[in-house]
Symmetry: C2
Subunit: 225 residues, 2 copies
C-alpha cells in the first residue's frame, strides 16, 4: 500500500507522511513541489530535507506535466544515495527518458523502476523495468497483473493479446471528455459503472454527466473481458 505525500509545502508533506505511517502504509510516493518549477539542485535539496523526516521508505514520482520538471537521471541517482529511497515511478510518457533512467540506475538492483502510463507497461517490463502503477488496474486488476506476468515471462503472444485490450481501454474510456481531466474522470466513472466505488472527484473537478457516463458504460461493455 503506497500513499502519496506530494505537496507544495515541505511541512505538509511531512504531516501527510505521518498520517500514512500511523494508518499502516507500506511506503510513500512523492512528486516534486508542483507550483513553482524547481531546478535540479533544488529538487535534490528538497528531497535531502524531506527524506530524513519520513518514517517510511519512499518512491520518487516523476509527473512533469503537473510539476513542470523532470528528475534528471543523475538527480535520481543523487537522491537515491539515501537507502530510504527504494524506487521511482515515471509518468512522463517519455520512452527515451525512461530508458535513460534505467541505464543510469543499472547497477542498483535494489532500486525499483515503474511506469505510470499503462500503454507503455508491457514494453518497459520486457526491457527490464519492475512494473507499472497503472490507472486502469483500479478497474481491471487481473488484466494488468496478467499483462505484467506475460511481459515478465516474455510470453509474447499473450503480451500482444492483453496489450490490445489495454489499448482499447485507453482509446475508448480515457478519450471521453475534452479536457486534461479526461483520464481521471474516465477511471473514476468506470469504477462507478463497475460498482467498485462512487465517481466523486475532489475539487476543482466534477464527475461525468449522464451522456459521458453512458459512453463509458458502453466502452466497458465492449471490452473483450
Amino acid at each position: 500500500l503506497l500513499v502519496g505525500i506530494s505537496d507544495t509545502s515541505l511541512a505538509d508533506s511531512i504531516s501527510l507522511s505521518q498520517v500514512a505511517s500511523v494508518s499502516g502504509a507500506d511506503a510513500l510516493v512523492s512528486a516534486p513541489p508542483y507550483y513553482f518549477a524547481t531546478g535540479q539542485p533544488e529538487l535534490a535539496e528538497f528531497y535531502e530535507s524531506l527524506i530524513p523526516q519520513l518514517e517510511l521508505p519512499v518512491y520518487l514520482y516523476n509527473m512533469p506535466s503537473h510539476t513542470k520538471v523532470n528528475f534528471a537521471p543523475s538527480t535520481i541517482r543523487r537522491i537515491a544515495e539515501n537507502e530510504k529511497v527504494i524506487g521511482f515511478k515515471d509518468s512522463s510518457s517519455n520512452g527515451t527518458y525512461f530508458q535513460q533512467v534505467m541505464y543510469e540506475m543499472r547497477d542498483r538492483k535494489d532500486f525499483s523502476i515503474f511506469v505510470g502510463p499503462e500503454e507503455m507497461m508491457a514494453e518497459v517490463v520486457l526491457m527490464g523495468a519492475h512494473g507499472g502503477v497503472n490507472g486502469g488496474a483500479n478497474m481491471f486488476p487481473k488484466l494488468y497483473v496478467d499483462l505484467y506476468n506475460a511481459a515478465a515471462t516474455q510470453n509474447m503472444a499473450e503480451v500482444k493479446r492483453l496489450h490490445a485490450i489495454v489499448m482499447q481501454i485507453s482509446a475508448t474510456i480515457y478519450s471521453v471528455g475534452s479536457f486534461g481531466s479526461s483520464y481521471l474522470k474516465g477511471v473514476k466513472c468506470g469504477l462507478s459503472v463497475l460498482g467498485i466505488c462512487n465517481d466523486y472527484l475532489a475539487a476543482p473537478f466534477n464527475k461525468f454527466d449522464e451522456e459521458h457516463r453512458n459512453r463509458i458504460r458502453l466502452a466497458i461493455e465492449n471490452l473483450p473481458l
Copy 2:
C-alpha cells in the same frame, strides 16, 4: 533511400521532391511546416494538397519538438487514406502516443511505423513496430541492424546486450555539449572520428571544438564493439 522534403513552404517541398525523384530516391519523408504551428485540420489539408503533387511515396514524420504539433492518430489515418502515404516515423519520444498510433493503424498491415529515438527502438519492435530510423545507425549500422533483428525475433538476451551498447552511445556521445544540438553535433563528430564523413554542419550550427571532439573520440573508444 528516403529523402526529407520538409519545408515551411508547400512550393519548396514540391521542388525538393522533384530533386529527390530525379536523383533516384525510393521515397520521401515529410515533417509538417515548422514555423507556424498547425492545427489538425490544417495538417491534414496541407498533406492533402502536397501528396497529389509528389511522384514518390511518402512517410509522415512526427517531430513535435521542432514542428510544435503532433499528428493526432486520427489525422494520420485520414492522411493515409491516400495510398501514396506508406508509413510514419515518430521522433516524439512519447511512448504512450506511439502505442496510440500503432493501435489506430492496427488494421493497416501495408502501413509501416518507425521510431526515431534509438533508445526506444528495441521495445517498440518487440511490440510490433516496423523498425527505427536511428541517428546512431549512421555510425554503427551493424549494431542497429543486429538490435532490430534480435527484437524482431524476440531474442531477449541479445536485445538486452545490444540495447545496453545503444544506451552507452546515448549516454556518452549525445551528452557532449550543452545545447539542443548536442545530438546532431555528436553524430556528425562521431562520423568524422570514424572517418566516414566530415563534421561540417549547416548554419546555424558549427562542429564541435577539439575538446569536445576528444570526448567523443574517447566515448567511441570505450564502446564494446
